[in-house]
Point group: C2
Chain length 250, copies 2
DNA sequence: ACCTGAACACCGTTCAAGT
DNA sequence: ACCTGAACACCGTTCAAGT
């Protein structure tokens, strides 16, 4: 109706006729024999995500992969958000299952962090997915595993939730950054420009160091080592806060 | 063509006719008098993002807000990705401009962190945007500001890039999590379920503490205080790594 | 050079119709 | 109860046509 009034306002005259005749009955594709299930949907989704990245995960792609109609998956999952959520949980659960939680708590935390880091090398989409919703199952699993180790370090009460939040936020945030960066790895130019710009800006505030020095350090870093260095900084921070005065450290 | 063959395969007969008559000339809307610019586009985008959230930022909404055609903005920006990127930089640059970089370096880093945290309270979409691309201008600005303060703490070379990466990843990651969590604040039930599940899982691994105790601690936390506690943990960790043996701390 | 708006090539989700 | 696939209500981006 508003379209028609628009047409009159624009002083043009328009006729649109669409006519479709169908001689019944329409022959439909036969049903698949094997039943659909949440599990099969997750498996297909992970395969597609690994192969084509996050932009490749469309409802059409998933249902085509499962040889079914577009609407079929809605009988098993709520929507695309849940699809990504349970796919990420599938990957993270697998990683955490491989961790031995009985060793030195710091070592367990390090291997846990390394495990999820390595996992996003294979499944970059997990990195971006984890930071999208703090209350999704995969994040709950990471929180749980970290909290258990903090408990074994005798960290209790709000110290534990503070420390846990810091580490979860760091790990999830770092994964997202490295995953997003790797996703643009083909775009080396952007990366180099960024690092050079950073080195330049640093040197502007710092007469004692050269642009070239900072640029070299920044460019030659290894993502994995830098990530683990961050975990170690965090672990040192927890110890220091525990040992020393908890609130003042000027 | 493939559609027609499909129709024959399905054994149906279909005719589709679409006919549009227009008496020329079509009267077009007059041009706006004030010229479009990157700046006006960013301003409009921020307004829309603040009012309607990230899902409200469509090219159609932006161009309608600017009373122009859908395609007009493509003469000034590359696409939607750049739209979000420059909008986020607009907000972050404003925050960083308000920071006095001359005080105690740790205090400056804390106020910087607090500043961006407060900003995402007003502009939650910035939180999710920052974690989407590590090489975007807004992240470069944060990196720069943090690096300058680390330099003032006499942290150099790879120690600086490690410490900087740790802080940037933590801050950006935490912002994304809190922003995403706040975006679902209406969904208190999910949040409560998550925290209760976490408390339950913790207590399963820990005979000396009760579910209820953990649940209470987790539920009563304040996001801002928890975020700042994390900043302090990293600052302590940086100091400790500097003072003590840099690589072993068992 | 800049702007307009229809057209294009997609999306996620719904739902009447089938089994 | 589950599945099918057309239809619906959107997207971002392109581009011939105008100024």
């Amino acid at each position: 109706v508003d379209q028609r009034s628009n047409i009159f306002r624009l002083d043009r005259w328009s006729i649109s006729v669409k006519m479709t005749l169908v001689n019944s009955p329409v022959q439909r594709n036969p049903r698949r024999s094997d039943a659909l299930s949440r599990n099969r949907i997750v498996e297909a989704s992970i395969e597609i995500l690994d192969a084509d990245g996050e932009s490749g995960l469309t409802v059409r792609a998933v249902t085509a992969h499962l040889s079914t109609g577009r609407g079929a998956i809605y009988h098993h999952i709520a929507g695309k958000e849940e699809l990504l959520s349970i796919a990420a949980e599938g990957v993270i659960a697998h990683v955490l299952a491989d961790i031995d939680p009985e060793g030195d708590p710091r070592a367990v935390i390090r291997s846990l962090a390394l495990g999820v880091f390595n996992a996003i090398g294979l499944h970059p989409w997990v990195g971006t997915q984890l930071s999208r919703d703090p209350f999704q199952p995969a994040v709950l699993s990471i929180w749980t595993a970290i909290g258990v180790q903090l408990q074994r370090l005798d960290i209790q009460g709000s110290d534990r939730s503070d420390a846990g939040a810091a580490l979860v936020n760091y790990v999830v945030g770092a994964l997202a950054q490295y995953a997003a960066g790797a996703g643009r790895a083909s775009d080396d130019v952007t990366r180099a420009q960024f690092l050079d710009a950073l080195a330049t800006r640093w040197s502007e505030h710092d007469s004692s160091s050269w642009v070239q020095e900072s640029a070299t350090v920044l460019r030659e870093h290894d993502d994995r080592e830098q990530f683990l260095a961050g975990v170690d900084i965090f672990l040192s921070g927890i110890t220091h806060r525990q040992a020393g005065a908890p609130d003042t450290h000027e």
